[in-house]
């Protein structure tokens, strides 16, 4: 029953049955004072007092070593052992001004002359004018034992969580730095804040046994613990929710926030309140990581295992959770979470590497297409013919080829280029092919916005396909490119005349695969490409999302 109630650090206070009497009489300290007409109750059930009160308790001890008496409480107190005052915490006063607040915990050493086995009487004179609001009843605990043990136990209670403090702070700093370097990754920030809150909870928990405070600050610390418990619970679920990208994360976090507030504010007993809050926090984290594991999100199994360990520890250790098992178990949970974060980062890096490789492969493919013998060698053969028969024509063809290759090397490394650049590439290609085939190719691009973006050589590849697969007779051949918007989608329609056998052949081949790969690269699974013949024209239809391309 550690951290909630005052006097929590010692065993046995539940059956701390005492005699109590309102008022003040120095003789009440005496061991042989008859207190049989005093009230009798368990310490914690004594209702609030005004002014000075005395509490008496008989203690049987077999202790042979130096005895100690631990008297904790939200009170100023003077402690008597068999009528002898053995110390005080603060100064008991008749009114607020006269009272001096004392430390909430204190262990009193009993003089060796009085440390003998047998029955003793403890009398405590108390006042609590500085009791903070929000605490009702007498919050006090009395315990006895070997002096050394009593002093050591509070140190032991406080020191174990501190082992973890440094770890949590380091992780918090580390993830804060990671977030600063990559501010888009919200789970970094959330993890950092989570570790920081846990560190805060650690400090709030350990403050009392290690450093202590005067009793008037007691409810402040309790509220701080409540607040941090709520924050830790929310951050845990939020981190998981963002980490595993669950749907409706804000709704989940909102519902959890309501539950945690209710548990922490409405449940009167502070210890029960925090326990319930933790149960719900972990259940929420369990649900999220369970869902993520079911969806096979990378690293989610580790997070799920961490939460499960934490939850099992919570259930097994009951109210002692915070004291004994919370921080080690939570440490494991954080390790699970961090591992899953790093696994996910590795996964993303891998995907990024694949994307980079795809872009490089497409660029390579595009450039290779123009170094391909079919295009280059045929063009060069034609050029040699002109050099020998019609040098003027040869010069024009070389210029057009140079223009095409230049534009190509300008744009091939980009994922997106302007439609203007794309059209320049197309007309250079049409000029080269026109010379080669003796056809006067035209591209009617009046219906197109030249400033809009498009992946490089997409229209170019479609045009190239048409020119290659159709045996266009000498004369004028016109291609038409149109653009329109419908239902928030961008449509590009290319019409190319087709000749004879070419039908169908255009709808296959490596050219179309290139176009598909380019569209997939800039608008994954959001593009459409279809083609077919309409009124003597081969029509290729590209559909793209409106956003994300500029």
């Amino acid at each position: 029953m550690a951290f909630a109630v005052v006097g929590c650090t010692v065993k046995g206070e539940v059956d701390n049955i005492v005699r109590y009497q309102q008022g003040d009489n120095q003789r009440w300290a005496a061991a042989d004072w008859d207190d049989s007409d005093w009230g009798e109750a368990a310490l914690l059930s004594i209702q609030d007092t005004t002014g000075i009160m005395w509490i008496r308790q008989s203690i049987d001890t077999e202790e042979m070593n130096t005895l100690g008496l631990s008297v904790s409480g939200v009170v100023a107190r003077e402690v008597y052992w068999d009528g002898v005052m053995i110390g005080r915490a603060g100064r008991v006063g008749k009114h607020r001004e006269a009272e001096v607040v004392g430390p909430i915990d204190r262990v009193f050493r009993i003089p060796d002359s009085l440390s003998v086995p047998g029955r003793h009487v403890v009398a405590v004179r108390i006042s609590n004018f500085h009791k903070p609001s929000g605490i009702s009843g007498l919050r006090m605990a009395i315990d006895h034992g070997e002096y050394r043990d009593l002093v050591g136990s509070s140190f032991n209670t406080g020191i174990i969580p501190l082992f973890f403090l440094g770890g949590f702070i380091l992780i918090a700093l580390y993830y804060a730095v990671l977030f600063i370097n990559d501010y888009r990754r919200l789970p970094y920030l959330l993890t950092s804040l989570l570790c920081l809150s846990v560190a805060g909870l650690l400090v709030a928990e350990s403050w009392r046994p290690l450093i202590g405070y005067t009793y008037n600050y007691h409810s402040l610390r309790i509220s701080l613990i409540d607040l941090l418990t709520g924050i830790v619970g929310l951050l845990l679920s939020a981190t998981f929710a963002f980490q595993f990208r669950i749907a409706k994360k804000w709704k989940v976090i909102g519902v959890l926030a309501v539950i945690l507030c209710a548990a922490l504010l409405l449940i009167d007993d502070h210890e029960t309140g925090t326990y319930v809050a933790f149960v719900f926090s972990l259940l929420s984290a369990l649900a999220i990581s369970g869902w993520a594991s079911w969806r096979k999100a990378s690293g989610s199994y580790l997070a799920l295992a961490g939460v499960l360990i934490c939850l099992i520890t919570l259930v097994l250790s009951g109210y002692d959770f915070m004291e004994e098992a919370f921080f080690p178990a939570f440490g494991l949970l954080i390790v699970g979470l961090l591992t899953s974060v790093s696994l996910q980062i590795r996964e993303e890096r891998k995907q990024h590497a694949v994307a980079v490789a795809t872009t490089a492969r497409l660029e390579n493919q595009l450039l290779k297409k123009h170094l391909q013998p079919h295009f280059l060698m045929n063009t060069l053969t034609s050029i040699i013919e002109w050099v020998e028969t019609d040098p003027e024509q040869g010069a024009k063809a070389i210029e057009a080829l140079a223009a095409e290759l230049r534009t190509l090397s300008d744009v091939s490394g980009n994922r997106l280029i302007t439609m203007g650049q794309e059209l320049a590439l197309c007309s250079a290609h049409l000029e080269v092919m026109g010379y080669r085939h003796g056809v006067n190719f035209e591209l009617d691009d009046r219906g197109v916005d030249k400033d809009k973006m498009i992946p490089p050589a997409v229209i170019h590849t479609l045009i190239e396909n048409a020119v290659t697969h159709n045996a266009y007779p000498p004369g004028a051949i016109t291609f038409t490119l149109n653009e329109y918007y419908e239902a928030n989608r961008r449509h590009l329609v290319l019409e190319t005349p087709f000749v004879g056998e070419s039908k169908g052949r255009q709808s296959s081949g490596s050219g179309l695969k290139y176009v598909e790969a380019r569209l997939q690269e800039i608008a994954p699974h959001e593009w459409k490409l279809s083609s077919g013949s309409e009124n003597g024209m081969w029509v290729t239809h590209i559909e793209l999302p409106v956003t994300g391309l500029t």
Binding site: P373, H374, L380, T381, H437, G500, E501, G509
Partner: protein, 232 residues
């Protein structure tokens, strides 16, 4: 010489025509250009040609099936292609020559030389043979000897089967490896198939093959055959 050019690139076809005219000069009997396959088929069904200059990539398609078909025909095939990496493949199926793009006049002259007597620079490894509705590929190593059959040839395989090839014995000789020897006006034999040379009455000679078959040897060729046998 009757020439057909099958090439979809107008300027390149024109170049071929021009260079062939310059090289062959008066030897040209007919020179025709088709830019599409169907057109070429029609022409071939109506005209006899000696050689077809065939573009391997008509309208961007891989025309290798077409090359096989051409190699099985009576005329010689010279493949024209930008894809020089396909040259060996084409030679192995029995084309007479493979001209890489771009090409100049000298290259065309060399090809014409081959047409006018010289053997292919790379002999065939297989022969494409037209069968009903399909093209069969017969490995040259399976052929024991070839017999003239009018305008056609009969390939006699080592297992005794006989396949008819559309090319004349003369044209087949142009693409067959050097180990095939013309031992008679009507016979081409694989030299290592000959086990024995027999002298018959009236100083007629004949070769006994591994299969036991007896094939006449032309009187003027017997010395040459003997020296080749001795060398092998």
């Amino acid at each position: 010489m009757r020439v057909l050019i099958v090439e979809d690139e107008l300027v390149i076809a024109r170049r071929l025509e021009r260079l062939l005219t310059e090289v062959l000069g008066a030897d040209i009997i007919a020179l025709h250009h088709c830019s599409a396959l169907r057109e070429a088929e029609k022409w071939l069904s109506e005209h006899e040609v000696d050689v077809v200059f065939l573009d391997l990539n008509l309208n961007g398609e891989d025309g290798f099936e077409l090359v096989k078909d051409a190699a099985a025909r009576a005329f010689h095939t010279v493949v024209i292609s930008a894809h020089t990496d396909r040259a060996m493949e084409a030679f192995e199926i029995g084309v007479l020559d493979f001209i890489g793009k771009p090409f100049g006049k000298e290259r065309i002259r060399k090809s014409v030389d081959r047409l006018q007597g010289a053997r292919a620079s790379h002999p065939a490894v297989s022969l494409a043979v037209r069968s009903t509705g399909r093209i069969d590929i017969i490995p040259v190593s399976n052929i024991a000897f070839v017999r003239a059959a009018g305008a056609y040839s009969e390939l006699v395989l080592r297992d005794g089967k006989v396949r008819v090839h559309s090319k004349s014995l003369d044209r087949l000789m142009d693409v067959l490896p050097a180990r095939f020897e013309r031992i008679h006006r009507s016979y081409v034999v694989r030299i290592d198939e000959i086990v024995q040379i027999k002298v018959r009455e009236g100083s007629r000679y004949s070769a006994i093959l591994a299969s036991g078959e007896e094939i006449p040897i032309g009187r003027t060729r017997v010395d040459h055959v003997r020296s080749r046998l001795a060398a092998s």
